[in-house]
């Protein structure tokens, strides 16, 4: 320990050490001289003072560090001497490394990290949502889990803080064992405990995340005991069957009032990677948190995510197998004693998807991992191009520094020493690029998340640069430094001394060749990126240009939540008709109607099974279709062409004959060549629907969707519990000015009627192509960057080539070669490079574009237009980059050129 102090003291006082040693040796030499009488003899005896000093210094054990520092200092001087080179290199590295880090951050949070809980490897998750009674059954009847946790995530919960305005936050309702079983403690206060969820609405408490605490409460400990009011309408859930909800109007529709009892441990964000939670509350508070939807005892509402911890010694496979058996028992028991044989057979084929839960629930992972991997590949290739580019610049500089390197070699510097020196320069460059890249990454990750935002919310991750991210950046920086530094360093130091002492220009043909290979490689990779970018762009264009079957421009979608206002049964339809009348009366509204699911609003019916008149199904699949429950004049006002029969109208009320309108696909499937009007089908024993109309197929939920069988029933004659209403409104003029009027209209009808959202249909459709737009935008940006870097590389290599051949070109011109001839000669070189890179890039594209087939729409992975467009763009840019040096070559004055040697 004390030795270390002495060593550090040496570092601190290095100049004194040198002085002392010098004086000491001089003293010694003097005494020797006195003893031997002659200076020469003394000097012979004394030997090499430099080596002696080096050896003395080495004793302190800092030599390698000193050498490194010297190399680093030298590297900085070299870079400072070439600010242009350093700027281009650092900038391109910053973009390359920054983009890689940004996307890695997302991939890390969404796909790689284990949950920040104790023993995450023991956790398992059940893939699909379940009802609360099912959750209780799974919890109580399984034999393989030591604990079963139920959760429900609400991305856009309304929060009103005592004495503050209403805001939005991400909430999660959790069973009382959530924190104890996960092993997550509280930073201050306490967590939610099993006592809190004993009975419905018995535990009005909340725990907030560290981030929310800092953001909203400024990290003040006074937060404990504060009251917040939370309320959530629709979130991720499914309901089916008539009258899911209770019929009695409840006292309050304002939501649950909760007392904050604690702040969760600082690194804990919840149990879904990519979705951070702000506020946790007991799951038994559900009826109060979601007014009008008391789901705790409801077997038909599925909304609970189930997470479980395996018992010690139970393998994942064993747990999975056991849960399938338990699940079938649960389903069988739910049927009661009157279960039919058919139902038994059906249950016997059911499975429960139980997955590894070490990374938490996988919804975000499933949605985003593929786009993120595509983007990672794109930015990886861009970084590769940046490396090739810098390697090329390094090579050119090494050539310019041949003399310097030659001199140092001849003065006795070892080749390893020089290689180390040159590599240090590359690493300094790479680390500088990496440091700048961290800033780019910060901004980039935020931008990415903003671009990924959809109506359902985006990825939310805690934004702190942590060691994983910084480690990744450092590793990538070092790797790139070696990648672009090693080859030029090896090349530059492999030179014969005699040669370098002569003019540096000659005999360097081999360097020129390496540079050309590098440029060809850059051209190949950037062509690959451009082809990818044009495929993605064309996909996006195809999707956006897709005919959805009606005109989405100007259409406004207003979504309200009648359930949370306490409307039940037929009252829902009456109230919505009232609201429709008021909306239609607004001066800015040309026409309006409403439906349950809306258009591109993110909600969709499940497939419904039915028996159809005069049709014998071969499989269950043949008697399923999607459906919607729509208001009066729905098709006319949305603009969906009615092919046969009539639209829905105000007379299709409860008690009137039940009617349905079917789409083209459904009509052609069941009634090929026959008029379906007047035919009947039954989704239920009690319900018989008469077909009164046939309408065109439309794209109402996804731009990529293929036409499916779909039918429409009247909103006033629902065949499934109505949970929401979407008003489709065509304004007379500007839609924006209508928004406030719409809000007022809803408020004036019923203060409790919550507006879930108001959107332009175009924005909803844009949200449907968020991953596509993100990939298209980023791949275009990076494709352009890649081409730019390749052009810089090409320009550099050609300029070098022209400079080297000045003499030759001069002779050619003196012998009568005209300017066009010289330009052509240089351009031929460019063409060779372009062809070589182009062929390699095209081959790579042929081999790899099929991996992105799933992302494409309306075109094949080998899309001629995309390939040609990419090639043409690259050729144009490369042509310019190559033409400039060629023109310079043509301006060479033969007289000067000949004197050049």
């Amino acid at each position: 320990m004390r030795e270390l102090w002495r060593r550090l003291g040496y570092l601190w006082n290095r100049s004194r050490f040198e002085r002392d040693l010098d004086e000491e040796l001089r003293f010694h030499a003097d005494r020797l001289e006195e003893a031997h009488g002659s200076r020469d003899a003394a000097r012979r005896k004394f030997g090499n003072a430099t080596i002696l000093k080096d050896a003395s210094r080495e004793m302190w054990g800092w030599t390698s560090l000193e050498r490194l520092l010297k190399d680093v200092r030298y590297a900085f001087r070299q870079l400072a001497a070439n600010p242009g080179f350093a700027a281009v290199a650092i900038l391109s590295l910053a973009l390359g490394i920054g983009a890689n880090t940004a996307i890695f951050t997302l991939i890390d949070h969404v796909m790689l990290r284990l949950l920040p809980v104790s023993h995450p490897e023991e956790l398992m998750v059940i893939r699909d949502l379940r009802s609360y009674p099912q959750f209780e059954q799974v919890r109580d009847r399984n034999q393989v889990f030591s604990a079963v946790i139920g959760t429900h995530y609400m991305p856009e919960m309304e929060v009103k803080i005592e004495g503050g305005p209403t805001g939005r936050a991400a909430g999660e309702m959790v069973s009382g064992n959530y924190f104890p079983v996960l092993g997550v403690g509280a930073a201050i206060g306490r967590t939610i405990l099993p006592e809190d969820d004993r009975a419905a609405e018995s535990g009005p408490v909340a725990v907030i995340s560290n981030g929310y605490w800092k953001r909203v409460f400024g990290g003040s400990p006074d937060v404990l005991g504060k009251k917040i009011q939370v309320r959530s309408g629709r979130s991720d859930m499914g309901t089916s069957g008539l009258d899911v909800y209770d019929n009695g109007r409840r006292g309050s529709y304002d939501g649950a009032v909760l007392t904050i009892v604690g702040v969760a441990a600082s690194d804990f964000y919840g149990v879904t990677a990519g979705r951070s939670v702000d506020i946790w509350m007991p799951i038994t508070m559900q009826p109060a948190v979601m007014p009008g939807r008391p789901f705790l005892a409801q077997p038909n509402a599925v909304w609970v995510n189930i997470l479980a911890r395996r018992k010690p010694g139970v393998s994942e496979d064993a747990a999975r197998a056991s849960m399938v058996v338990v699940w079938r028992q649960i389903l069988t028991d739910a049927e009661g004693a009157l279960i039919t044989e058919a139902r038994k057979r059906e249950i016997a084929s059911r499975v429960l998807l139980v997955e590894s839960g070490e990374k938490g629930f996988g919804k975000v992972r499933r949605d985003f991992s593929q786009p993120l991997l595509v983007l990672m590949t794109v930015v990886g290739l861009v970084l590769l191009i940046a490396c090739l580019n810098i390697a090329n610049l390094q090579l050119a500089r090494a050539t310019a520094r041949r003399r310097e390197i030659g001199v140092r070699l001849s003065l006795g510097a070892g080749r390893p020493r020089l290689i180390r020196q040159l590599l240090t320069e590359s690493l300094v460059l790479a680390l500088a690029g990496g440091a700048a890249g961290v800033m780019v990454a910060f901004a980039g990750a935020r931008l990415l998340i903003a671009m990924l935002a959809t109506i359902e919310g985006s990825i939310t991750i805690p934004f702190e640069m942590d060691f994983r991210t910084l480690g990744f950046t450092a590793a990538v920086s070092v790797a790139t430094g070696i990648l672009f530094g090693l080859a030029p360093a090896l090349r530059a130091t492999r030179i014969s001394l005699a040669e370098t002492m002569k003019d540096a220009g000659r005999g360097a043909t081999s360097n020129g060749r390496t540079g050309k290979v590098l440029v060809a490689a850059q051209i190949a990779v950037s062509l690959l990126l451009l082809i990818g970018a044009s495929l993605f762009l064309r996909t996006l264009f195809n999707l956006k240009a897709r005919d959805v079957g009606y005109n989405p421009d100007g259409l406004v979608l207003l979504r309200v939540d009648p359930v949370s206002a306490g409307y039940r049964g037929d009252e829902v339809g009456r109230r919505m008709q009232l609201l429709l009348d008021r909306v239609r009366a607004l001066p800015g509204v040309r026409e309006a109607t409403f439906s349950e699911n809306g258009l591109f609003s993110g909600s969709e019916s499940q497939e419904l099974m039915y028996n159809i008149e005069g049709f014998t199904p071969h499989a269950d699949e043949d008697r399923r279709a999607y459906f919607d429950q729509v208001g009066p004049q729905y098709f006319t006002h949305v603009g969906i062409p009615i092919l046969l029969g009539r639209d829905m109208n105000e007379r299709d009320l409860p008690g009137a004959p039940r009617v349905a309108v079917i789409n083209e696909t459904m009509a052609n499937f069941y009634f090929p060549g026959v008029n379906p009007i007047g035919k009947h089908f039954s989704p239920d024993k009690q319900i018989r629907l008469e077909i009164v109309g046939v309408v065109r197929d439309v794209q109402d939920h996804g731009l990529r969707d293929k036409p499916v069988r779909r039918f429409y029933v009247s909103y006033f004659q629902p065949i499934d519990g109505i949970t929401t209403a979407n008003f489709e409104i065509r304004p007379l003029g500007n839609a924006a000015s209508l928004m406030a009027a719409l809000r007022n209209t809803v408020q004036s009808l019923d203060r409790n009627l919550a507006i879930s959202s108001i959107n332009l249909e175009r924005d909803l459709m844009d949200a449907d192509v968020v991953p596509e737009r993100l990939i298209a935008t980023l791949s275009s940006f990076f494709g352009a960057l890649a081409v730019l870097l390749a052009a810089i590389g090409l320009y550099g290599v050609m300029s070098y080539s022209v400079a080297r051949r000045t003499n030759e070109i001069g002779i050619r011109m003196a012998l009568g070669a005209g300017r066009p001839r010289v330009i052509l000669m240089i351009l031929r070189e460019v063409a060779v490079l372009l062809a070589a890179g182009g062929i390699a890039g095209t081959a790579a594209a042929f081999a790899s574009t099929r991996f992105i087939k799933g992302f494409l729409f309306g075109l094949a992975p080998i899309d001629l237009i995309s390939f040609l467009a990419a090639a043409a763009l690259l050729a144009a840019v490369a042509g310019i980059a190559g033409y400039l040096p060629a023109r310079r070559a043509s301006k060479i004055d033969p007289m000067i050129a000949l004197r050049y040697e």
Binding site: R2, E3, R6, R7, Y10, D20, L21, E23, E24, L25, F27, H28, D30, R31, L32, F46, G47, N48, I51, L52, A55, S56, R57, E58, M59, W60, G61
Partner: protein
């Protein structure tokens, strides 16, 4: 110059430490001279080994160094044994003796 004998490996520190123990504080030249004289010119310490060795011993804390005046009024760097150095000397001496007696046994029985 007479025949020179390589200093047996590993004994340089011991020789320097012993010299300092015998002479008290001395400078590098003095140490080298003393060893040469005492050993009747058999052991000659190269400056190239002596000064790095002294640095090493400074690192280890076996000696300290101080600038002082010589008898003929020149500045020289004097090395002084520390308690740690004395301990080290004893350790090396006993190890050296063990080794020597072991070697002696091997040679005698041969």
């Amino acid at each position: 110059m007479g025949s020179r004998t390589e200093i047996p490996p590993g004994t340089l520190y011991m020789l320097i430490l012993k010299t300092l123990a015998r002479l008290g504080p001395s400078h590098g030249y003095g140490i080298a001279e003393y060893i040469q004289q005492i050993s009747d010119d058999v052991l000659q310490i190269e400056e190239g080994s002596l000064y790095p060795a002294l640095q090493r011993m400074l690192v280890k804390g076996w000696v300290t160094a101080e600038w002082a005046q010589t008898e003929n009024n020149r500045r020289a760097r004097y090395y002084k044994l520390t308690p740690a150095g004395r301990k080290q000397l004893n350790l090396e001496l006993s190890e050296f003796e063990r080794a020597i007696s072991a070697i002696a046994k091997v040679i005698q029985t041969a």
